[in-house]
């Protein structure tokens, strides 16, 4: 009978539980504080950001003032009468569009190509299939740094430096091994009898793939898509290497890096810029958390 009062997972002594809750609260606050600091700073006037700590907003609420000017300046929408000094016209709007233009195709193209390949490896029998698949998985070990020197040479020759296409292809190439591996794991477990009857009706591999496999694989595709999207959105290295230094084509991470380098001058703009760059990933995170966690578990081996 005694065991009936014990919860299966833990003994709940009140003191112990208070400690557990206290530690959890403390850690959560600790983890949250830096981000809150950034968020608060991004709404403070530029002079305040440079003169006093962001926490004075909480310790001394009477003197705190808030403004949207940082966001206006950063997005290139200055309010009437607001003076934008020369060299301060930091139009991150362009960078936002560039980042979207890079992240979406860099997510969809590799997934599409990988899904075709995963189906081919899983369900079409051909000589050398096993060997080729093992080779693809083995490519997971290659860090993308290996490709920087040779691919950069190719891009110079093809005049691809600084184009969206070059970056899409790079993200596709570097994302494919993992994408094929994960989608293969999923697609190969789809029960055979689901498409057996379609075959008997004379359907080709192509129709079966488009009509049956793609819709059935939606959860796996979505999980990987979120993961790859965040990866391309947050990427700095590939952008620095293949997009180059021209502000017209640069993505958010590059522009932020540039702002970070201009020492100490644009702190207030930096905060707004950083928050803008985090906005979409945070939305994706909170809305699609369940998919995201699954993608994370599956995607732990990104090269």
């Amino acid at each position: 009978m005694a065991s009936a009062t014990i919860s299966p997972r833990s003994r709940k002594s009140p003191v112990g539980m208070i400690i557990v809750y206290a530690v959890m609260l403390l850690v959560t606050l600790l983890w949250l504080t830096p981000t809150v600091g950034l968020l608060v700073s991004s709404f403070r006037p530029g002079d305040d950001v440079k003169r006093t700590g962001w926490w004075t907003v909480f310790t001394d609420p009477a003197t705190a003032t808030f403004t949207l000017d940082n966001y206006r300046t950063v997005l290139g929408l200055p309010k009437e009468g607001q003076v934008v000094q020369a060299g301060q016209e930091i139009n991150l709007g362009t960078a936002v569009i560039n980042t979207i233009t890079i992240a979406i195709p860099s997510t969809v193209i590799p997934i599409l190509i990988a899904a075709f390949a995963a189906y081919g490896f899983a369900w079409i029998r051909f000589p050398g299939r096993r060997l080729l698949f093992i080779l693809v998985v083995a490519l997971l070990v290659v860090p993308l740094q290996i490709s920087l020197v040779p691919i950069l040479r190719d891009y110079l020759r093809l005049d691809l430096g600084g184009t969206y296409l070059g970056v899409w292809l790079a993200h596709t190439g570097f994302g494919l091994p993992l994408a094929i591996y994960l989608l293969y794991n999923y697609i190969s477990t789809i029960p055979r009898d689901i498409f057996e009857s379609a075959f008997l009706d004379g359907a080709t591999h192509f129709t079966i793939f488009l009509r049956l496999i793609l819709p059935l694989s939606a959860p796996a595709l979505a999980s990987f898509a979120i993961f790859q999207f965040l990866w391309t959105w947050n990427d700095l290295l590939i952008a620095l290497v293949f997009l180059g230094a021209e502000p017209r084509v640069q993505v958010l991470t590059q522009r932020l890096l540039g702002l970070l380098g201009q020492y100490g001058q644009d702190w207030h703009l930096l905060t707004a810029g950083a928050f803008i760059s985090m906005l979409l990933p945070l939305c994706v995170f909170f809305v699609l958390q369940r998919f995201f966690v699954r993608g994370m578990m599956a995607g732990s081996v990104k090269g």
Binding site: I97, R129, L148, L152, V241, T253, S300, V301
Partner: protein
């Protein structure tokens, strides 16, 4: 059944000429989609680059063109295959599916590995053969020695141990709290995971910022120190400890990841194991040590190896916090510097090869471990 095996018999090439034409057909099919896509996309991009239209329209055209183009070309190559006689169709169909991926992988990963190795034996411009000079540089230059110390001591050991340790601690504790409380705490701790390295660097600038004593501090740590009556510290200049302050950023980013994965593993441990332990009179710590940890050993290894891989290749945090100065240099950042600031392709390639060799054993272990638990997906 009989019919199928006959077809398969036929499918196999007979004789050298047949084999050659089959192979040639497969290569052609594989190259077809990527090449045509590339050429068409390339032309449109040259047009878009020079066209004077609003940026957002360019963006929409580019996205539609890129994504739609790939799908259309798969259809096209399938259409071409379907016009062939049945034998050839069966021989070539697999490569409609796997070919494009193989070609792209060859261009972006297979050939570059070989080409990087060759480039690593040549000088900065790739003109003159220099033997192992670049590797000698990589193992003797002060900045590379510093990078090895930082990558292997500060990043690999501290970052991995602390990220996994915190993640495990939080996962175990969270498991005992109310489900709603647990969900909220876990989401908030996990959140930094979606922030870019550069974004994190901006956030942590406001933690580490240093102003001379006497003037008001705007960095959180120095604000706390001066609040306690102590002197402010220039955290990012304190060698070699500044490495640990950079590592702290990575821990902040990675702990959520390890917590979420470990947490789901812990929830998968059968309840009767705990029950049995308690009946035997084990205390909470003993249960953690002899039941929880052994049950999730595989997951612990996956998480640890994943974080090790991230630490070996760490780049953006260092690049945006210190640029590798003040004793914080790391391998990936030296490679980037050699490639762009020094324009030394030979050295950059040699460092990339060293990185590859460092990653291989960890990755091998990671993939093998991961293969055992694919049900996670």
């Amino acid at each position: 059944m009989q019919q199928v095996s006959e077809l398969e018999q036929l499918e196999r090439p007979h004789g050298i000429r047949d084999w050659l034409s089959t192979t040639l057909g497969r290569v052609l099919v594989s190259v077809f989609v990527p090449l045509v896509t590339f050429i068409i996309l390339y032309q449109v991009f040259l047009f878009l680059r020079d066209a004077a239209i609003p940026q957002w329209i360019t963006a929409i055209i580019a996205i539609l063109w890129g994504v739609g183009g790939v799908l259309a070309l798969f259809s096209l190559s399938n259409y071409v295959i379907e016009q062939l006689p049945v034998l050839w169709r069966r021989r070539l169909t697999p490569f409609v599916f796997v070919g494009p991926a193989l070609v792209i992988l060859t261009w972006y990963l297979v050939l570059p590995t070989l080409r990087s190795f060759v480039a690593s034996l040549y000088d900065a411009t790739g003109q003159n053969f220099v033997g192992l000079d670049n590797y000698i540089f990589a193992f003797t230059s002060p900045e590379m020695l510093q990078s090895f110390r930082n990558n292997f001591v500060f990043w690999l050991i501290f970052c991995t141990a602390l990220s996994v340790g915190f993640g495990l601690l939080i996962a175990v504790l969270a498991d005992r709290t109310h489900p709603t409380f647990e969900t909220v705490c876990k989401a908030l701790i996990f959140m930094p995971m979606v922030i870019s390295g550069v974004g994190a660097a901006v956030i942590w600038k406001f933690v580490y910022e240093f102003r001379p004593p006497g003037s008001p501090q705007i960095g959180l740590l120095n604000g706390a120190l001066t609040g306690l009556g102590l002197d402010p510290q220039a955290w990012l200049l304190l060698q070699p400890w500044n490495n640990l302050f950079l590592v702290a950023i990575m821990i902040w980013l990675q702990t959520g990841y390890s917590m979420v994965i470990l947490s789901s593993a812990i929830k998968g441990v059968p309840a009767d194991l705990y029950e049995a332990g308690r009946i035997d009179g084990a205390n909470e710590f003993q249960i953690f040590r002899s039941i929880t940890v052994p049950s999730i050993r595989g997951t612990l290894i996956t998480v640890a190896t994943t974080i090790i891989l991230a630490t070996l290749k760490v780049f953006d945090i260092v690049q945006s916090m210190t640029g590798g100065n003040f004793g914080t240099q790391v391998i990936a950042n030296v490679q980037f510097t050699q490639l762009f600031r020094q324009v030394n392709n030979g050295r950059a390639a040699a460092i990339a090869i060293i990185l590859l060799i460092a990653v291989i054993p960890v990755m091998y272990y990671n993939v093998r471990q991961f293969g055992k638990q694919t049900e996670a997906f």
